[in-house]
């Protein structure tokens, strides 16, 4: 489990970008979808998630805007940029290569 979460942590940004490829979303919704996809086996820590948002936004891979909820608290939505899509594809390629290598090694 520890190795698994270490490997997953190294791909936090790709995981977030993948989630945003489908549609604009906000922190909790992204995390909820990750939980559902992994059958409750994995969930990002809030600290990890929001640090990654800040890094991705700083690098220009995502942009953010405030939602216009009429009830309850305002949500900050994130949107993937063109640079973000390119970065996602590159990360995907890197992962595929690493996966093959590891597969042959262990």
């Amino acid at each position: 489990m520890n190795i698994t979460s270490d490997i997953l942590r190294g791909h936090t940004e790709t995981i977030i970008l993948k989630a945003l490829l489908e549609k604009d979303s906000y922190g909790y919704e992204i995390n909820k979808r990750i939980q559902e996809k992994t059958d409750n086996q994995f969930e990002l820590k809030e600290a990890t998630l929001y640090s990654a948002f800040r890094r991705l936004e700083g690098d220009g891979y995502i942009s953010s805007y405030w939602g216009d909820e009429t009830t309850g608290a305002r949500r900050r939505y994130y949107k993937i940029t063109a640079e973000g899509r390119i970065f996602y594809l590159k990360s995907r390629e890197d992962w595929d290569k690493a996966k093959q290598l590891i597969e042959t090694l262990i």
């Binding site: 995390n31 909820k32 640090s51 309850g72 608290a73 900050r76």
Partner: protein, 220 residues
């Protein structure tokens, strides 16, 4: 329960500068955590269980708060510039003090009242010029980051600058008024009427104040 989650986040952000970014990040975190908390309640947990589950998954916020702190180092004041300003103010004050002495010296020793008056005005004009230059060349406070504190500092800096102008002009105005009062009164002996000059001076000062305030609000 919103208050418990809010105070947990506020505590984590205690040492972080209150910039727009950090306040928005706190708002974002609280909104998302509240939604998660409500989901946990909907799944049948009680309030305490839900709160514990939400807080337990937050993790270590220090990387996040640290990244907010980095960009908030204020540039220190330039010491060379400060010394220059202090020197100019000293010279100006010295000229003000010397100005009536020039008048007394010329009038008593050289028997040249007009020359003395001329000298005095030159001294006052020089001193006032230096003070106005100082006020006008004072470095502006530049906004480093959009936040309420920065905006307030900028607002204050603009106000202080106006104040410095007003002070330099009015100190010169009153000295000149006193000089004219004594000169006219001694020369013409019209002590009965010459005091009116002080009322005129007060009016002039208010006009200057109004002009500065108007110019400031026009800029806005």
């Amino acid at each position: 329960m919103l208050n418990r989650i809010r105070s947990y986040i506020n505590t984590a952000f205690t040492d972080v500068p209150k910039t727009k970014k950090s306040i928005e990040l706190q708002e974002e975190l609280i909104a998302n955590l509240m939604e998660k908390f409500n989901d946990q309640l909907a799944q049948g947990q009680n309030e305490d269980e839900a709160y514990t589950a939400v807080i337990a998954n937050i993790g270590d916020l220090s990387e996040l708060t640290e990244s907010l702190r980095e960009h908030h180092v204020l540039s220190p004041e330039n010491p060379v510039e400060r010394k220059k300003i202090a020197l100019r103010i000293s010279i100006a004050v010295m000229l003000y003090i010397l100005s009536p002495m020039a008048l007394i010296f010329s009038a008593e020793v050289l028997q040249q009242e007009i020359l003395g008056l001329l000298l005095m005005f030159i001294f006052i004009a020089g001193a006032t010029g230096i003070l106005i230059y100082n006020a006008a060349s004072k470095p502006r406070y530049l906004k480093e980051e959009e936040s309420m504190i920065e905006e307030f500092k900028e607002f204050k800096a603009a106000k202080n600058k106006d104040k410095a102008w007003l002070e330099s002009i009015s100190s010169a105005l009153w000295l000149i008024t006193v000089a004219i009062y004594f000169y006219l009164s001694f020369m013409t002996g019209s002590w009965a009427f010459s005091w009116i000059i002080f009322i005129i001076a007060a009016a002039v000062q208010n006009i200057i104040k109004a002009v500065i305030t108007m110019r400031h609000s026009n800029e806005k």
